[in-house]
């Protein structure tokens, strides 16, 4: 289990990175935290000719909150965000989900950009991006563009990123104080990729739901939102019956096949029970923060 040979570049600016990608295109692979790419290289499931390492690009390692929201540079380590206790109030759903990513030593290397770009349907970050209407800032040699998270994930492990582009930043809108949230995950061992997980986000005004997000981890080949189920909540007062219908609808929206970890039926079942608990919890939280 040793990586196949490759040429290695570790430029220290984004410009140089983009020039290399421009030059090598499909032959090149970006290396961020290496926590997903590393095992793939060792197993020779990924055999790029060129590795372009982002770890010396200091400009990509930052995070800041401004008027519009939270902006996180692609090379920010997951543990950096984990250790910022402010995030527990400013971005509670994010703060709650990060400790579920692998283990501390993985989060010390693993990056936000890498998680979002790798697009593992069982990973936490893509679901958080969907649940929170995150946007993704992308650069290539000609400039930058932003993509909504909901348009970013295309098919299994494939995103809207082109071979000559990199993800430079992710943006999450400011947290609306009156909103409720929940993050629930089910895996067989602590720290494993989830068999199924749910991130929910609700705003409730005058007892009625005005915005709802239900993002599913492990619900198909790509991270998904169950939009029909979401829309069933809009304008409604949260009740047990409604939650039952919504969660059943959500489970139908899964695009899942059976694999060695779980059958499609069991995943659907899990989705229905987890969505129901997650919405209940989110509604309760929305209540607590004064929205109900």
């Amino acid at each position: 289990m040793k990586p196949a040979p490759f040429d290695y570049y570790d430029p220290d600016s984004v410009e140089e990175v983009l020039d290399l990608l421009q030059q090598y295109g499909d032959d090149a692979k970006i290396l961020a935290g290496g926590q997903s790419l590393g095992p793939l290289l060792n197993m020779r499931l990924s055999t790029p000719q060129i590795i372009v390492d982002l770890n010396r690009v200091a400009d990509l390692e930052y995070y800041k909150s401004d008027g519009t929201g939270l902006r996180v540079g692609a090379m920010t380590r997951q543990s950096t965000l984990e250790d910022d206790t402010n995030l527990r109030t400013t971005q509670p759903i994010l703060a709650a989900s990060i400790p579920y990513i692998g283990h501390r030593s993985i989060r010390n290397r693993g990056t936000v950009g890498g998680s979002v770009a790798h697009a593992d349907p069982a990973a936490e970050w893509p679901a958080i991006m969907l649940a929170l209407d995150g946007t993704i800032l992308i650069r290539n040699t000609t400039g930058t563009r932003t993509v909504d998270a909901s348009d970013f994930y295309i098919s299994a492990l494939t995103t809207d990123l082109k071979p000559d582009e990199i993800l430079v930043e992710i943006q999450l809108p400011n947290w609306v104080k009156t909103s409720g949230w929940s993050f629930i995950e089910f895996s067989r061992r602590h720290g494993d990729f989830a068999i199924l997980g749910v991130a929910t986000y609700l705003t409730i005004e005058n007892r009625r739901c005005t915005k709802s997000r239900i993002a599913i981890i492990g619900g198909g080949p790509i991270p998904i939102r169950t939009s029909k189920a979401e829309s069933m909540l809009i304008g409604e007062t949260i009740s047990d019956e409604l939650l039952k219908d919504v969660s059943e609808q959500a489970s139908k929206e899964l695009d899942t096949d059976s694999d060695m970890h779980a059958s499609a039926d069991y995943r659907r079942y899990l989705a229905s029970v987890l969505v129901s608990s997650a919405l209940q919890e989110a509604a309760a939280r929305a209540g607590e923060s004064g929205g109900q």
């Binding site: 040793k2 061992r189 720290g191 990729f193 060695m260 987890l274």
Partner: protein
């Protein structure tokens, strides 16, 4: 007045080997580098069953760094790997050659060996070897006996079919007032030590000796096998055991690589290293445990067992390996367990399938049969509405029945339980866990969490013969060295043996150096398996130490001009009981015993070897209770607490024994809830990495409480011990399965398989129609 006080048997001294491990100074096989060393990689079959029509290595040979590539055709007068335990001739057609000859039988079957200047380069070449495979039909079902025989000469895939029986089962079933039936499946999993296998071989021209580093468990035996396969004399091969990162039965058997690496080193006259990687390990190292039990039990209405019938299908994988058919044989022999089963019949079919070959893993054959039997008992109890404790107590073998002949046999020995108070162990574990008080408290509450308790009783065969040896030497500086043929697979053998020697010699254990696993240390050895090392090697050390002690005192008495009876050994010196100033250091006595100084009527030298021989196994026993909690929304299974009561006669180092119990228990938990080698219909291993093969971690492990009973010291050895290695794991499968069944209430009777996953719980709880809508 000085007295002897020994820090020996029974004290939990800190382990002697730990300091080097804690400081990163262990010497595991991959830590060793020899000058000029080459590296090997194995090309393995991607097909579960196929004919090899052509292998082209020409392009591969031209690649940078490649030294040579070996295929079956290149191996000179190659022989199949022989069986170590109970070689029945009828199994010969199913043995594995070191490289596949024309046909591959599981994904991972070795096809070629690449030797290159680095492991990186050797792996580069794997894809450059062009092998043409012609796929054959695949059999992954041990109950499918006939489809596409794996081996040319065989008419079907049944490698072995035999019966163990006692009494008259037919009559017992005729008298039955109740019959309980259960089909129970034990999943495929294995030992999976954290250190993968590895070997270094080198031909030492000056000594004219082939040296092999990396063997363990049964080094002497494996030297014999290698000598046989290479047509060499045994004494021209030296095997050296390094530090070993866990054995658990799978490690140290003679595998294809154990031939290939020495073969390459001999051929190239250069050191060759091979380190198995984890992906190889999960498909190349022995699997274990996959068995199906079709059971029927005849009972009286009051719960008395009249007889049991079992049809046992053992999934052997693609070949018969070194264990022959010992695993299902042990299953059949130990199935009756601690219970009095007057009439018993077990038919075993060991069937070849296109999967990794199976062998032993900690409590081989017993983890499976104990689990199946204990489930059967609980099922019968619930059908007859008898308490699980009661059905067990009323059928347990009583202490006054000891020694008890089970009526079965294994490894050519009749199974005779030597001693033990089985009912007491059950009572103790029931008391310790407050089973009676707790079992009903949490039941029928309204929360999402359902609590269940499960019990399993077990006996464990330990101390397998026929012999083990120990040699003790004291050199001119007074340094004491113990050498043995038993192996240290991580269980702390150095400490155990030093404690036994120190208790006889009344010296401090850390003044004793223990050497092991090197075929040059001692001419004969058997090894470490079947919980035998402490029992067999420990007893040998005990006797050898007594011999040397006698000699020490004799020489000291001569030197000090006193009687032997007046002498004691204290603080490492030999002194006269009531004349403390009259004393000799061990070094002084050692010098007095040299041929130069030794009195003429005494044979010089302080060097004794003793071979402890015993052909009877000694049986440990115990009982396990597990408490689980099931979340009926997600169907997650959370083990909350484990209680294990066990009797191993006597413990040399109680804390080390406790560690064996706990480690075994968590492995048992892994097999019951997490670990499984899964195959798809084409025979591909789908759980071939640590992402998919789930080992228990600290978060899946509940609190473990264990209690040792020293009520039945073994009468078969001088230190009165029984092996401790397998008591922790033996009851875990049964106790966990029963606990889950208990938690599931009415749906509990569905529990019929290991591992029990949340998805299976969901299936058991959900009637078919609910699942589909």
């Amino acid at each position: 007045m000085k007295t002897e006080h020994s820090k020996g048997i029974g004290e939990s001294i800190k382990r002697l080997e730990d300091k080097r491990f804690l400081q990163g100074q262990g010497h595991y096989i991959d830590d060793l580098q020899l000058p000029d060393m080459l590296h090997a990689a194995v090309l393995r079959s991607p097909y579960a069953h196929a004919t090899i029509t052509n292998i082209d290595v020409n392009f591969a040979l031209e690649q940078p760094g490649v030294v040579t590539i070996l295929t079956f055709a290149d191996l000179h007068s190659v022989k199949p790997i022989p069986i170590r335990l109970n070689p029945y001739g009828s199994l010969e057609p199913f043995l594995q050659y070191p490289l596949a000859n024309n046909r591959v039988r599981y994904v991972g079957d070795p096809v070629a060996l690449i030797i290159a200047h680095s492991r990186y380069q050797a792996e580069d070449v794997l894809e450059n070897i062009v092998v043409q495979y012609d796929p054959l039909p695949v059999n992954i079902d041990a109950e499918d006996k006939v489809s596409c025989p794996l081996h040319h000469d065989a008419k079907d895939n049944v490698a072995s079919n035999f019966v163990q029986q006692k009494g008259d089962v037919v009559a017992a079933f005729r008298k039955a007032e109740h019959i309980t039936k259960l089909r129970f499946t034990s999943g495929r999993h294995s030992g999976v030590p954290l250190e993968t296998r590895g070997l270094i071989a080198n031909y030492d021209a000056t000594q004219e000796k082939l040296k092999v580093w990396g063997p363990t468990k049964v080094t002497h035996f494996n030297r014999g096998v290698l000598a046989h396969m290479l047509d060499m004399e045994e004494h021209t091969i030296g095997m050296i055991e390094p530090d070993v990162g866990g054995g658990f039965g799978v490690r140290g058997e003679f595998y294809p690589e154990d031939y290939l690496i020495p073969y390459a080193a001999l051929m190239l006259k250069r050191p060759v290293k091979w380190i198995e990687d984890r992906l190889e390990n999960l498909m190349a190292c022995n699997h274990s445990r996959e068995q199906i039990y079709e059971m029927e039990m005849a009972l009286k209405k009051d719960g008395t067992i009249l007889g049991i019938k079992v049809l046992l299908s053992n999934d052997q994988g693609g070949y018969i390996r070194t264990h022959g058919i010992i695993v299902p044989e042990l299953s059949a022999a130990i199935f009756p367990g601690p219970y009095h089963i007057p009439n018993y019949r077990c038919e075993v079919r060991s069937v070849l399938t296109n999967k990794t070959p199976a062998g032993t893993y900690r409590a081989p054959g017993r983890y499976e049969c104990n689990t199946s039997r204990e489930r059967l008992l609980d099922l019968a109890a619930s059908e007859l509405m008898i308490d699980p404790v009661k059905i067990r107590s009323m059928n347990l073998i009583q202490p006054e029945d000891m020694p008890y002949e089970v009526g079965t046999e294994s490894l050519g020995e009749d199974i005779v339980y030597d001693s033990g108070d089985y009912p007491f162990a059950l009572q103790e574990v029931v008391r310790l866990s407050k089973y009676e008080e707790n079992r009903h408290i949490n039941h029928n509450n309204l929360s999402n969490k359902k609590v269940g308790y499960g019990i399993a009783c077990f006996v464990e065969k330990t101390g397998l013969g026929p012999f083990e040896g120990a040699r003790i030497e004291i050199d001119q500086t007074g340094a004491i060295t113990v050498s043995t043929g038993a192996a240290n697979v991580g269980q702390g053998l150095e400490t155990t043996l030093a404690q036994i020697a120190s208790s006889v010699l009344t010296v401090s254990p850390d003044s004793i150096q223990v050497l092991h696993g090197d075929t040059d240390l001692i001419p004969y050895g058997v090894g470490s398996f079947a919980s035998r090392a402490t029992v067999m090697a420990g007893s040998a050390v005990y006797y050898a130490a007594q011999k040397i002690r006698k000699k020490l005192l004799k020489i000291a008495a001569h030197t000090l001009n006193c009687q032997v009876e007046q002498l004691i050994i204290s603080d490492g010196d030999i002194c006269v009981t009531d004349h403390q100033d009259k004393r000799l250091t061990l070094a002084q006595v050692a010098q007095q015993s040299s041929p130069r100084n030794c009195p003429p009527d005494i044979e010089p030298g302080l060097d004794f070897t003793h071979y402890f021989r015993c052909n009877q196994m000694t049986f440990a026993h115990g009982a396990t209770i597990v408490k689980v909690e099931i979340d009926i929304t997600t169907c997650a299974i959370v083990p909350k607490h484990v209680w294990i009561v066990y009797d191993i006669g006597k413990a040399i180092n109680p804390q080390m024994v406790k560690g064996q119990i706990e480690g075994g228990a968590v492995q048992g938990l892994g097999g019951a809830l997490l670990e499984e080698f899964k195959y798809d219909p084409s025979g591909q291993l789908t759980s071939g990495s640590f992402v998919d093969y789930l080992l228990p971690t600290a978060t899946e492990t509940p609190f473990l409480e264990s209690k040792r009973l020293d009520r039945s010291p073994s009468t078969l050895n001088p230190i009165q011990v029984k092996g401790a290695g397998e008591c922790g794991i033996a009851g875990m499968g049964g106790a966990l399965a029963n606990a889950v069944a208990d938690a599931l209430g009415d749906s509990g009777s569905n529990v019929n398989v290991l591992p029990i996953t949340p998805e299976k719980v969901w299936q058991w709880l959900t009637p078919m129609q609910d699942k589909t809508n």
